[in-house]
Symmetry: C2
Subunit: 367 residues, 2 copies
DNA sequence: GTTGGCACTCTTGCCTTACGAGTGCTAATT
DNA sequence: AATTAGCACTCGTAAGGCAAGAGTGCCAAC
């Protein structure tokens, strides 16, 4: 059933006022905004209907109304006006991200910090990496007991390791191993480096010192960490600003859930969504029990090397979705521009964002 | 002035009881412990004296007594009994640290997490690195537009970078540059790589593509990050357990101070202290304003490669110093054993720890 | 020097009361 | 038929007052 235009206006007013004040909002307050040209009595009637439709609820009789998750969902999906960032804000973000190229992990962390600062909510960043293969080995002979393994991956990352040996090797052995590994262990994935294969290589190299095993182990390690998703969380303490987390126990529950980084990966990563698309998960739409009365807003960005990353914030369901979405979107676009390989839309386009959410039965709908 | 033995006993009892309950402790409660064989009236007299000596204070007339920072200092320096960890606890720590060798940053983070879990306070870990020089360059030619720079430092860390060029180079050029850098840029510190030197090298290599500058820039970057202290903080939310942080504003102030990692470096790093030595900074002994009514307990460990690391926890002044010191000491010893180069004392010795603190005028004294 | 006793203080919890915001309903109005 | 004004009612919150309890300081006795 489609809501009447007036109901929509009233619902939007309730949500916005509640977001602003964190207090249940009454009929009078809505009438006072002046957007509606009807009396508080009329609004009372409408409010009563919105309650019975499930969009609003009352903490107790004779209190004002508070949006339900369904109410927020409706607001976010259909009612909310897209916010434009002020020039100061966009400038602050651009400045915050900086221009220097940094190690991806560092940049993600900085971006998270920025997102947290700009929104006053805890922020999370996350980068999933696609499977990679090894494209090249280099073994650098240092001295009889030392050499360096340098491994380059198909996604252009390079890893190295310094190996100290308890025994002596000569340079020719290291060279031979290098050639061998380049011949047999490039283009393979982690699973293909089986003990059998390693053993075969060991014999081929006439290696009785276990060097082959060391190199192979490092190759496996590099491949596995290359695929590992990285997650960062920043600004947990921001939660304490929010009136809904004045109860330290409640705050602690959510914070310890969040800071146990592993859980971040429970997020719906599978469908990362496209550029300029913001996902909003409201209260019970979250799978994790601990997030059932919080909301998560996520933007996705192009992290280069065929990686997609996620940046988002967590807050109470009473969250300033509109502002947060605009800011995250801008930050994500900024990240894409800095990290991404492909051509990006110019910054001016960032505000035309698509907001995508999930309604309570898990389906995806679009505004 | 030396306190009478009975005063010492009473002071210790007050501190311990207060640590346990977080409630001001009265004369009756102390008499009830049975350690003293005198009545509550006598204890009252002694308490009054301890107050006038500055070791205790009363939140208000007719409330029990609470230790002052000076009282804690006395307790930690002279009164506190060294705690022995139970076999379960030592086993838990050993298990927590694991045996696998990991990247240092990762291990520090894990150790911090463990310290936080074991003590129920936020934990910080920190590794200061001594200045290093570059001991070796390797340039790996990939194709006409790509090569890898591998830099090995005097402290045995190795860093690399993949360079994509907008122009073509041939392999001999890369080789020439490698030889040149190994000849002129090894053994030098960050400051010695000046624009003048780079320019000279550029001419010597007949490099008109700016490759010399790229490599030199990377060398500088590696040197500077190698010296950078790393700091991690984990378990902020644990603060919320503590009654003294039930006030969200207070909790937030400290947490945001802590999570802004830079501040960790304000700690008295200069004198890292030796093995098996625990430093305790109580309330106003901390330099940072934000820590004036919190305490910090720090252990130091041998992080290998001539590095010393710090691991510590932050909590209210009403902290279980004895337990925390024992646990941190054991964790630090465990880290030293895993990371350290030198020979370590066997785990059994860990409990004989020395506690070192600073009294209020900043001098260092030893117990 | 130690102890029992006692009056005094001050916080804490609890109860009661008063207030006010907000509702729901009814009857009048457009 | 929708809107509005009016009004009684509900319920949470803040304020005041009261009693209880914990703890002290002091005095006199041991």
């Amino acid at each position: 059933m489609e809501l009447s235009s007036r109901k929509k206006k009233i619902l939007a007013a309730v949500v916005e006022e509640y977001i602003r004040t964190a207090e249940p909002v009454g009929s009078k307050a809505i009438a006072a905004t002046g957007d509606l040209k009807c009396s508080s009595a009329t609004i009372r009637n409408e409010l009563a209907e919105l309650v019975s439709l499930g969009y609003l609820e009352q903490p107790h009789t004779s209190a004002g109304r508070v949006p339900t998750p369904l109410g927020y969902r409706m607001y976010v999906s259909e009612l909310m006006e897209r916010q434009e960032l002020s020039p100061e804000e966009t400038a602050a973000i651009d400045r915050g991200l900086g221009e220097r190229l940094q190690e991806t992990g560092q940049l993600m962390n900085d971006a998270g910090r920025l997102a947290s600062q700009m929104t006053n909510y805890p922020a999370l960043t996350l980068a999933a990496r696609p499977a990679a293969t090894i494209s090249r080995f280099d073994l650098i002979y240092i001295d009889a007991n030392t050499f360096i393994i340098v491994v380059m991956l198909s996604n252009d990352t390079v890893q190295n390791k310094l190996v100290h040996l308890p025994v002596s090797v000569d340079q020719s052995m290291i060279q031979k191993l290098g050639t061998l590994f380049n011949a047999h262990f490039t283009g393979v994935s982690e699973e293909e480096i089986t003990p059998t294969v390693i053993h075969a290589a060991e014999r081929a190299a006439e290696d009785n010192l276990g060097l082959t095993a060391v190199i192979a182990a490092f190759a496996i390690e590099v491949l596995s960490t290359a695929q590992e998703a990285q997650a960062y969380l920043v600004g947990e303490s921001q939660l304490l600003h929010q009136p809904e987390f004045r109860d330290p126990d409640k705050a602690h529950r959510l914070m310890s859930y969040l800071s146990d980084g592993g859980h971040l990966l429970d997020l719906p990563l599978s469908d990362l969504g496209g550029e300029n698309e913001i996902r909003v998960l409201i209260g019970p739409e979250n799978v994790a029990e601990e997030l059932k009365d919080s909301s998560v807003v996520i933007a996705s960005y192009d992290a280069g090397d065929n990686m997609r990353g996620l940046i988002g914030v967590v807050g109470p369901t009473r969250m300033d979705y509109s502002k947060v979405a605009a800011k995250l979107s801008f930050i994500a676009a900024g990240l894409s521009r800095r990290l991404g390989g492909g051509s990006m839309p110019p910054p001016g386009l960032d505000n035309k964002l698509i907001i995508k959410g999930e309604d309570s039965n898990g389906q995806t709908e679009e505004s």
